[in-house]
């Protein structure tokens, strides 16, 4: 009976999707075979023990008992709610890598290579992610901000120092070998569109 009671209790808790009090659990049984409170508590204790190596744990909260996903697995579960992780645009990656190779670099420096203006949104995203920071301003008219990469950037890409980045000449050769699958089609297309219309009339930068 006890194993069965434990199964019933587990089924109830997993079906209810809310905390159930001991009395609520008892109420589903006919009077004739309603378990005593002690018996039920024992079943709950056994269930809690069973859960030790499982993805859920038995929690006693104000309104009773509930089975909930283990706290340490919350991170995994969290990802379930999200859409596919967003992807960075090619424009952003290019901006980042140009800063990495040319630092300190101004927006103008990046725009010069990319041929298109750099959006404020991209700079903001990179600053927010703490992959770049403003190291100062260039002492030229307009005093443009100078961007450099951060330690977090190196950590993220598993680099010890900037010198671990492959030399540019090698990167150039990479281009044939590297597939473009890092970027989804839409982004690529958007970017292609952007590049095609990379006329000075594009005022994205401002």
């Amino acid at each position: 009976m006890n194993a069965e009671l434990k199964s019933i209790v587990e089924a109830l808790l997993l079906a209810a999707d809310r905390a159930l009090s001991v009395d609520e659990i008892r109420s589903v049984f006919d009077e004739a075979d309603r378990p005593e409170r002690d018996e039920l508590r024992q079943a709950l204790a056994d269930l809690a023990e069973d859960c030790e190596h499982r993805g859920v744990e038995l929690k006693e909260v104000a309104s009773g008992f509930r089975l909930q996903v283990r706290q340490e697995l919350a991170g995994w579960v969290n990802r379930l709610w999200e859409e596919k992780p967003p992807r960075y645009t090619r424009a952003l990656l290019e901006t980042l890598v140009l800063i990495a190779y040319r630092q300190p670099a101004t927006r103008g420096d990046i725009e010069e290579v990319r041929g298109v203006s750099v959006s404020t949104g991209i700079i903001r995203t990179l600053l927010d992610r703490e992959w770049i920071r403003i190291s100062g301003q260039r002492e030229t008219p307009g005093r443009p901000e100078l961007f450099v990469t951060t330690r977090q950037f190196l950590d993220h890409f598993n680099l010890k120092s900037l010198s671990d980045l492959p030399p540019l000449s090698e990167v150039k050769d990479l281009r044939e070998a590297l597939p473009e699958d890092g970027l989804n089609e839409t982004v690529l297309e958007l970017f292609a569109g952007e590049a095609r219309s990379a006329q000075p009339t594009k005022s994205e930068a401002l």
Binding site: L14, A15, G115, G142
Partner: protein
């Protein structure tokens, strides 16, 4: 009939509508050909239950199947003449109750009447193809309908979610729902660099004129174009080839230079031409 509410509880199959045990009475009612004025006791259904009674049947085929099953005979053995009489009796009954019958019931009544007349009247054997024989067609339809009726009953008995089955759900621990950071690999980054370089090359070789203009560049350009001692009309500083962006960047550059007091601007009257010169020249003007 056709508009039965899908949410309404299905009439129980175990209790089919009250049925007459005497075919004789019904047959008489039919032959009379008039509306039934007095319902036989064993046929009586409370008027307000008639609708429910109607709803119990999913159409003429269902009603026919019921009549056949009630006699415990195989569909293939159906005595069409007898079934027709029973069917007509039901139709009469429903009409007597002044319930609007779905047209399908009347079509079926006509079909049955035709079949009955064919069976009763002798006719040349070779005249009719079996395929066109209305009796076989009817039987075929009844058999076909019965298959799906049974399938529907089977489906209804299958375990289903929120009846026999419950999705197991656990509570969620406290956590902040966060939008994950996009995942970027170093290889993505290098691919982007390669692409940027390719892009740059492209621009160098073929699209030099398309290069974007930075404020910084524009400032150095203005510094070269402007002179200390001479006012230059603003319009001459704008390059039409640079388009709108060029205009905006030029303005920004000028504002930036003003902020740094590197330039003087003069507009002699409202909406008049704007002139610039490098700061530090002679002849200040308001």
């Amino acid at each position: 009939m056709s508009g039965s509410d899908p949410q309404a509880p299905a009439p129980s199959r175990e209790t089919p509508p009250a049925a007459p045990d005497s075919q004789q009475q019904l047959a008489i009612a039919y032959i009379a050909g008039t509306a039934v004025e007095e319902l036989p006791g064993d046929l009586y259904i409370p008027p307000n239950a008639l609708e429910v009674y109607l709803e119990a049947f999913e159409g003429p085929l269902d009603l026919l199947l019921y009549l056949i099953k009630r006699q415990n005979i195989d569909i293939l053995e159906v005595d069409v003449a007898e079934i027709t009489d029973q069917y007509m009796a039901y139709i009469e009954l429903m009409q007597a109750g002044q319930f609007e019958l779905a047209a399908e019931y009347m079509v079926m009544a006509a079909t049955l009447a035709e079949i009955k007349s064919r069976i009763l009247l002798p006719r040349p054997e070779s005249a009719e193809e079996e395929e066109a024989d209305p009796r076989m067609q009817l039987i075929r339809r009844l058999l076909e309908y019965e298959r799906y009726k049974t399938a529907a009953e089977n489906l209804d008995e299958m375990p289903r979610l929120n009846r026999e089955l419950r999705q197991a759900r656990a509570g969620l621990p406290e956590f902040q729902r966060t939008i994950p950071e996009p995942v970027v690999e170093l290889s993505d980054l290098l691919a982007a660099m390669a692409s940027a370089l390719r892009q740059a090359e492209l621009f160098e070789h073929h699209h030099v004129s398309l290069e974007s203009i930075s404020t910084e560049e524009k400032i150095s350009h203005l510094l070269r174009s402007l002179e200390k001692d001479r006012f230059v009309p603003l319009v001459t500083l704008l390059d039409p080839r640079e388009g709108r962006l060029g205009v905006v960047v030029t303005f920004l550059a000028i504002m930036e230079m003003m902020r740094g007091a590197a330039v003087e601007i003069v507009q002699s009257d409202g909406f008049g031409p704007i002139h610039l010169r490098l700061a530090g020249g002679a002849g200040k003007s308001a």
